[in-house]
Symmetry: C2
């Protein structure tokens, strides 16, 4: 497997585009994205567990309930959530697009991201659809990736090439992250495409399994969005024998999917609102997988740990504190903690107590842009990883006045 | 019942003091506090649920296991947590103090707050105890309240006068709050004294019941400290008939206790690290008490809601979002949300959808220092309150470089 370029257009038969249609009147930025497959695809998705759900999620869930889809449309600037006519607008978006594309409205995945609770006007979307379709191209991923951004500062796209049953397959994805990121079950907005041939059932199985270790292990600010959604479209144009059960082919597919999702997780975490650093918490020695995951997530979510990392302060007591209140059953007196970056690794806590370490060396390590917080629970064989970012002045600035 | 002055010295027979003994070498501030009753007291306490527990909590728990105590000693500047010799140092603190006071070491409540994982040197404590005792006085509460502060910007003390069985009783408390505040079961450091006569059993019952609605409903940053502790000492000098069971006297005591604790909660929340505003989330219409509490706590903990309040931005979608991911079973389509302050009240969401409101009026309301976020679930009879503060640049600043 190798990383390649092209994002959601890397796989055969996928076109994409993004245009500025004017959903946010005060900002000229592409705000409407489209991904279309030349042929129908099997489709899988996961959604936020937030009880307050964006209207597009309800519509998408209904549309892909048969396991098939062919196009994805997504606007930024308005979440179409907590609006009395939200479902109607989301359905109308699908039918307007489907009509122009000559496909069924029930083959459209629709998504929205932005402010909650402001009515979404269909007019700019309706007016934007013709140019959105006109500009579709096999190398249009960049435009789509840009159009789904809100406070994201960089486009997030990745693609891989892998082999299934002797056939070369490709898979790529784009993501929108930044704030209100603490996915549970699904996540932010992620659109993945592949030309691998795989049944809808196996595609859903692959996605549902993968997100538990990837998107659900990312947190920017502990707030689980109302509009989180990950979708995968597989159009089968690589002409491999369809994956319809477990086995080597499914394993190869899972590995490709995991490479795409982990890359997107890291991009989302490192571009968290206001973030200056990517944090990865690597937990080993857990008695169970659940314990390792709970500990990793708790550390990555701790505001105090995040602020300490912003300040390049080796305040490991906050890591211990976050492990202690995580709810995971751990033996505190066995825990070792290290900080690590490209500048080296330093032990700061052994058996639950502090050890002497060079503050100078620790500072040098923590001034880097990518920091690993390594926790060894010394209590079993299970490991986990979680991703997050530091808590900075800019997070407060961005969120103190996001809406107005 | 009326509010009075005097804090922990308001009740008959309680002296207090606070001195600078030099635990933090780089900061000249009172760092050692003492509260002593003229006679033995019944005692009750609750402690953090963090698995990583400060050594002083273990020692205090042991000391008051018989239901009695007579003195409280507390240092700031070092949490005496995650130190290999922590228990030894905490015990030594008790015995050094007890010897000079002529009481038993097992009648001492010991507490610490400050940095985790740095060995606590007994020398400054040992050297500080004589002047700490010399300076004890019946109006020394201010010094003790100051000595337990870390990043707190104001002293937190309160006292009330109430009547039990025809006798005038007094009760007062001091608190240390500020950061790493998200209590679960117990909380930050709170020391309460009363001259009301009450059995150890009923005292513990009163405290354990009260904190569920008070300290456990406060959150500054979602981080549950390793050293949270609330203690109450009751010395019986008001000469009321001892409270040994439920009834009117116990009710009067509970009401006094609740007045003290709610006042301290509000002080702790409004002096949260970096806070510019006190937030109170008032939830009504819950189907169960648990639902009302879960919703109130989730809203008060949401980083995005907190940052919006800092920016005086009426971004109510974040309130809905936090309710949706709280885990509480609510009917989203019934929820109403209001923002309120001394400048008025404004409805922003009805039946789960946005309503038109004046942004200007909302801004005027949210620019105040005390904001109520009012949520009506319209689904039952249960209510709850939670307290917190806004998320500001200064929170990040304080915690980006707290330790070094």
């Amino acid at each position: 497997m190798k990383l390649i370029s092209g994002g959601v257009c890397a796989a055969k038969g996928f076109k994409a585009n993004g245009v500025h249609c004017g959903i946010r009147k005060n900002r000229v930025k592409r705000d409407l994205a489209l991904i279309v497959s030349d042929v129908p695809c099997t489709a899988a998705a996961t959604y936020t567990t937030n009880l307050v759900k964006g209207a597009p999620l309800t519509v998408t869930k209904q549309n892909i309930s048969n396991g098939y889809a062919q196009a994805v449309i997504c606007n930024s600037g308005n979440a179409n959530t907590c609006n009395a006519n939200g479902i109607e607008i989301a359905n109308l978006t699908c039918s307007l697009l489907a009509e122009k594309l000559g496909i069924s409205a029930s083959d459209v995945v629709v998504a929205s991201t932005g402010v909650i609770g402001q009515p979404l006007d269909i007019t700019p979307i309706k007016n934007g659809i013709p140019s959105l379709i006109d500009g579709l191209s096999y190398d249009g991923c960049d435009y789509a990736a840009e159009a789904i951004m809100t406070t994201d500062t960089v486009k997030k796209e990745v693609a891989v090439e892998f082999t299934v049953g002797g056939k070369t397959c490709k898979m790529g994805g784009i993501a929108k992250g930044s704030g209100m990121i603490h996915p549970n079950m699904a996540t932010m907005l992620v659109f993945i495409t592949t030309d691998c041939k795989i049944s809808a059932e196996m595609l859903q199985k692959a996605l549902s399994s993968d997100i538990k270790e990837t998107f659900n292990m990312v947190s920017i600010d502990g707030d689980t969005s109302t509009n989180d959604m990950v979708t995968v479209l597989a159009n089968g144009m690589a002409e491999n024998d369809e994956i319809v059960s477990d086995g080597d082919d499914f394993k190869a597919f899972m590995k490709a999917l995991n490479t795409v999702t982990v890359n997107l997780c890291r991009m989302i975490a490192s571009d968290g609102e206001g973030a200056t650093k990517l944090l990865e918490c690597k937990v080993s020695g857990g008695k169970t997988l659940d314990i390792a995951k709970t500990v990793a997530k708790s550390v990555i979510c701790s505001s105090l740990t995040k602020a300490a990392m912003f300040g390049a302060d080796a305040n490991w007591g906050r890591v211990l504190c976050a492990i202690g209140y995580s709810g995971a059953c751990v033996d505190v007196d066995k825990i070792d903690v290290y900080f690590s970056s490209s500048k080296g690794t330093i032990a700061v806590c052994k058996n639950g107590s502090g050890v002497d370490f060079s503050e100078e060396k620790a500072k040098e390590i923590l001034l880097e842009k990518e920091i690993d917080i390594i926790v060894d629970l010394n209590d079993g064989e299970f490991s986990s990883k979680a991703w997050g970012c530091d808590l900075t002045y800019d997070y407060v600035k961005i969120n103190g006045d996001y809406r107005t």
